[in-house]
């Protein structure tokens, strides 16, 4: 089970996840991130503070979305990764592909500055 909530914080949006990100819940997250990447939001901050487990299917969603964000010239950042989740990203060699911040506020500030400098 994965709860996905959106909180618009113009010019970006925070997507907060709660639960397990696995093969069953990953397609729903991918669909929602796709919609947001095609919306007017300049960047997306994904809050993983309440995600205790990510399976390979979940990582695959992030890998595909990182590509889509790059293509659409949108910012994508992750925040509040629990140590075991951070370890999974490290294991898959995906940490260097993302902007990872300790809090959602940090992520928004960094992405806002990045947007402004474009």
């Amino acid at each position: 089970m994965l709860d996905i909530t959106h909180k618009p914080e113009p010019p970006g949006v925070t997507v907060a996840l709660k639960g397990h990100l696995n093969a069953i819940t990953a397609p729903e997250l991918e669909q929602q991130l796709d919609t947001l990447l095609n919306s007017a939001h300049e960047y997306i901050v994904v809050d993983l503070g309440n995600v205790a487990f990510i399976a390979s299917a979940g990582l695959r969603v992030f890998l595909a979305c990182a590509k889509k964000a790059k293509r659409a010239n949108r910012g994508l950042a992750l925040c509040r990764l629990q140590p075991q989740v951070q370890q999974i990203f490290d294991l898959a060699g995906m940490t260097p592909l993302f902007l990872i911040h300790p809090t959602a506020e940090h992520a928004h500030t960094a992405l806002r500055q990045r947007s402004a400098s474009k």
Partner: protein, 301 residues
């Protein structure tokens, strides 16, 4: 790469062929021993040896079929022949177990002392085949580890079971002969055969569960999914979009399809180089994997 696969296939076939020859010889000697003795444990051993020979023969035929078919026919699913032969080995082991239990019950009901020249043939047979089965078990284990083959793993277990069986039969025959002065020694023969039966039951259970598990197509293990993701993350700047990954495991074989989109202006030669690099890396890191990278411009579900 194909040279490596052919060499592995050749090793498996040669190990299985050696098992067939040894099994045929064992059946011949066991039949001679049984026909000149009154031992129930030797009768059970002859039946078991015959069934084991059939099982080894089936495995050899399946491996031969796979090796001959390689590169010439459509190969999807042919690896299942190995698992099917493993399953058949397990069923034959259960039949053998029933026969051994039947013979042991008969001996308990009608006990007699062992007699006949066949007993000595049986003793010599057990000594020789104990050595042969131990050798084939070790060889099978080595080959199974090298080729990740469920059929060879089943064969190694089978030879181990046979070696243990040889030990028990040998012990039962020697004790029965040495302790003929005691009344209770007539029960050594059926007891020995029951112990062999237990070892066969355990081996059959292992072979059966392993073959059933391998026969079912299943999703790739997480550790291998991570290897794929790591490789794609490493090539992050080489492709334009990741449209999907399909993977499945069938027997010992792993099939992976990756759907990527490349920049339209990227030269075909460059795209081919990236695909080759991805494919080779994954096939090296994931044993028995067949990787194909397909071009796509929309998500593949």
């Amino acid at each position: 790469m194909s040279g490596h696969i052919e060499a592995a296939g050749g090793n498996k076939e040669s190990a299985a062929r050696a098992g067939v020859i040894a099994g045929l010889l064992d059946v011949g000697i066991a039949v001679v021993a049984v026909s000149t003795a009154n031992s129930a444990v030797l009768i059970a051993d002859a039946l078991k040896t015959f069934l084991e020979f059939i099982a080894v023969l089936l495995a050899w035929l399946a491996i031969r079929r796979i090796n001959r078919g390689a590169g010439r026919n459509f190969e999807y699913g042919i690896g299942k022949l190995e698992n099917l032969s493993g399953l058949l080995v397990a069923i034959l082991m259960i039949l053998c177990l029933l026969l051994i239990v039947g013979a042991a019950v008969h001996d308990f009901l009608h006990p007699t002392h062992l007699a006949g020249a066949g007993i000595w043939i049986g003793v010599a047979d057990q000594v020789v085949f104990l050595g042969i089965n131990a050798f084939l078990c070790l060889r099978g284990r080595r080959t199974a580890a090298q080729t990740n083959s469920p059929a060879m793993a089943a064969q190694a277990r089978l030879f181990f079971t046979r070696a243990v069986g040889n030990c028990f039969i040998l012990l039962a025959l020697v004790l029965s002969l040495a302790l003929t002065g005691y009344k209770w020694s007539v029960y050594i023969d059926p007891c020995g055969s029951l112990l062999i039966g237990i070892s066969i039951l355990l081996a059959a259970f292992g072979t059966f569960s392993s073959s059933i598990y391998d026969l079912l197509d299943r999703t790739l293990e997480e550790k291998h999914q991570f290897v794929i993701l790591r490789e794609l993350a490493g090539h992050f700047d080489d492709y334009e979009a990741l449209h999907g990954i399909r993977s499945r495991q069938s027997g010992s074989q792993v099939y992976i399809e990756i759907f990527l989109e490349f920049e339209p202006t990227k030269p075909v030669g460059e795209v081919q180089r990236i695909i080759n690099h991805l494919t080779e890396n994954l096939q090296t890191k994931i044993p028995n994997s067949h990787v194909s990278v397909a071009l796509a411009n929309r998500p593949i579900n």
